[in-house]
């Protein structure tokens, strides 16, 4: 019981989890057809990266790692605000949220 309770988690597991979350975020970015859902996959990717930062901060006892996560969160918040505003603007212009229908950048 003691050994089970006292068992430690190797940090590589945290990192693997982070990698897995990141990969899932990319997959979501690729297969999702709703613009908002695609944006959510991006947020998932950011969070995965945050996790690996915190892991390394724990590894080297560096506070700066955690501070960087703090900044990432701030930037993600700003980005989410502006991005959603853009999505609203796009929706107003094109009346659709389907990713495949918004192809104004086609040559």
């Amino acid at each position: 019981m003691n050994s089970l309770l006292a068992q430690e988690v190797p940090l590589s597991w945290y990192l693997l989890l982070s990698a897995a979350l990141f990969a899932l975020g990319v997959v979501g970015f690729l297969i999702k057809r709703n613009l908002i859902t695609v944006f959510m996959s991006i947020e998932l990717m950011l969070n995965a990266v945050n996790l690996s930062f915190v892991t390394f901060a724990h590894q080297w006892h560096a506070v700066k790692g955690q501070i960087f996560v703090f900044f990432v969160m701030m930037v993600a918040a700003a980005e989410a605000a502006v991005g959603l505003a853009i999505i609203i603007a796009v929706f107003r212009a094109r009346a659709t949220l389907a990713v495949d229908r918004i192809d104004l950048m086609k040559l």
């Binding site: 990319v26 970015f29 690729l30 990713v99 495949d100 918004i102 192809d103 086609k106 040559l107």
Partner: protein, 650 residues
Amino acid sequence: MNAPLHLWLIPLLPFAGFLLNGILGRGLPKWLVTTVALLAPLAAFGVVLNAAAGFFGFGPATGSLPYIETCPIPWIDAGVLHVNFSFVLDELSLVMLLVVTGVGFLIHVYSVGYMGDEEGYARYFSYLNLFLFFMTVLVLAGNALVMFVGWEGVGLASYLLIGFYFNKKSAADAGKKAFIVNRIGDFSFLIGMFLLLANFGTLTFSEIAAKLGMDPGWQGGVVTVIALCLMLGAAGKSAQLPLYIWLPDAMEGPTPVSALIHAATMVTAGVYMIARTHVLFDHSPFALGVVAVVGAATAVFAATIALVQTDIKRVLAYSTISQLGYMFLACGVAAYSAAIFHLVTHAFFKALLFLAAGAVIHAIGGEQDLRKMGGLWKKLPVTFAVTTAGVLAIGGFFPFAGFFSKDAILYAAFLQGPGGKALWFVGLVTALLTSFYMFRLWYLAFLGKPRGESEHPHATPWSMQGPLVILALLSIGGGWIGMERFGSFLAPAVGARTAEGGSAQLELILSIVAVAVALAGWFVADLMYRQQPARAEELAAAYPGGYRMLAHKYYVDEIYGAVVVKPLLGISRYVLEWVVDIGLIGGTAWLLAGIATLTGTILQRWQSGNLRSYAAWLAAGAAALLLFVLVPWDAVLASLTAIHLGIAGH
């Protein structure tokens, strides 16, 4: 100490005349243009006389010839090539300069009268002065490159003056023809210069002569090649076979131009050049032989054509080619002094004949066809008299100028062994023909019944008559200096070849033979054109093929046109224009543009506007980067080769 001769003034004064008349001439009054135009050659002639006087003992002593003047500003100083603007006055160039500036000045005076009513009066004189500038540069040149400047320059002046009536297509074409044919000769001259530079390291004539003299090993071989190249250049300028075709066409220019450039001075530049570089020719008997054969062949060839020409200027043109052939023959038997002597006398009587023809043409209102002239001896007495003097001179009658120089040439040729005797015979035949066609011209133009429109002929102004008289006097007395004294005078410059087997008696006998032949020619001409004028047409009708061939100048122009000109034009139009220009170059441009457009069209599909495909490519790019950075490629490659070898080994 030498008093400076200021040789540089000799070219510079005509050049100044050219600039003044060329740039300002249109606005200046005619008398001013005339004054400037006449002052330039007169002043140049004055400088030459001053130099001559110094050497002949009159005036302040200026030391001995050769007198070299080098411009202090260096011209070319590049590696092996060191060339300066240097002028050399020696016996040869002195004689040449006297002829060029003296006869040149006379012709300038004549032109005042002849071209008096022409438009482009100032332009004419500026071109004439330009010609004089270049010709004097050519004569005074101390090295081959300065001579080449003059050489090309006189070609340019010739082109400008032949095409003086540029509104006439035939004149413009003639100018072009002259320039292009001359270019071929110039190219050969250039090759000769390159070879000179490669073998002797210098282009200065005196240095080359010194190097050739020092080393007896220079015989044949490369010297022959150089000499032949130079000879071809001279043949172009002096209208010898095969590059003579431009001279008859050059008669499109005004008659004084024909007199100055195409009789007296420019065409003699080739002979002058050979005399200048005679050292090279002396070391190559083969080249000398070629020169002699070319000269003799040209002489008789041109004489045969002159027999049936109907334009008065054409007769004189072919006569010029023929006489130049004599000069080449003389050079070919190493009798350079004789060649120069004939050059001088020929300048006198040929210029005289051309100017007289010009007077005739001017008097009867532009008619040049001999068949339409006749009976002019009463209306143009002075012209008739001077023409008679000229005809007698060119025929080689004693004691006129042509007798002495022509005999010197034939005598020198005769002494050159069996080949020389053959050349002598050809020269003799040519003398017969020359006498015949010149008297034919004389009879047709002046004697007999008038065949032309008998309007009252214009009076010839004194500006035209004066030079005619002076040249006639020179034609009569120009040869009295005698070959011996002339030859010994020129010997320091052109060498003296002692003739073996010669004697005064042989010379006398040969002279008598030559005069007899000339008289025979006169007799036949008299027969055919005075006593029985119908005989000429009967003879022509009896041999229609031969007559036609002569009248069409052996169809040489047509042959050249078909063999040289047409293929070149064809190659230009069809090969160079279609294959190279449109096909290769255009095709390459088209191909490159096509590739760019095609690439664009293919890559355009990548920009689909589809967000998901963009995302996919982003992911792919990131994956590629990660793989590139994180995978140890050398280890991978090593293990792969190990596997491959392992499999292969089994």
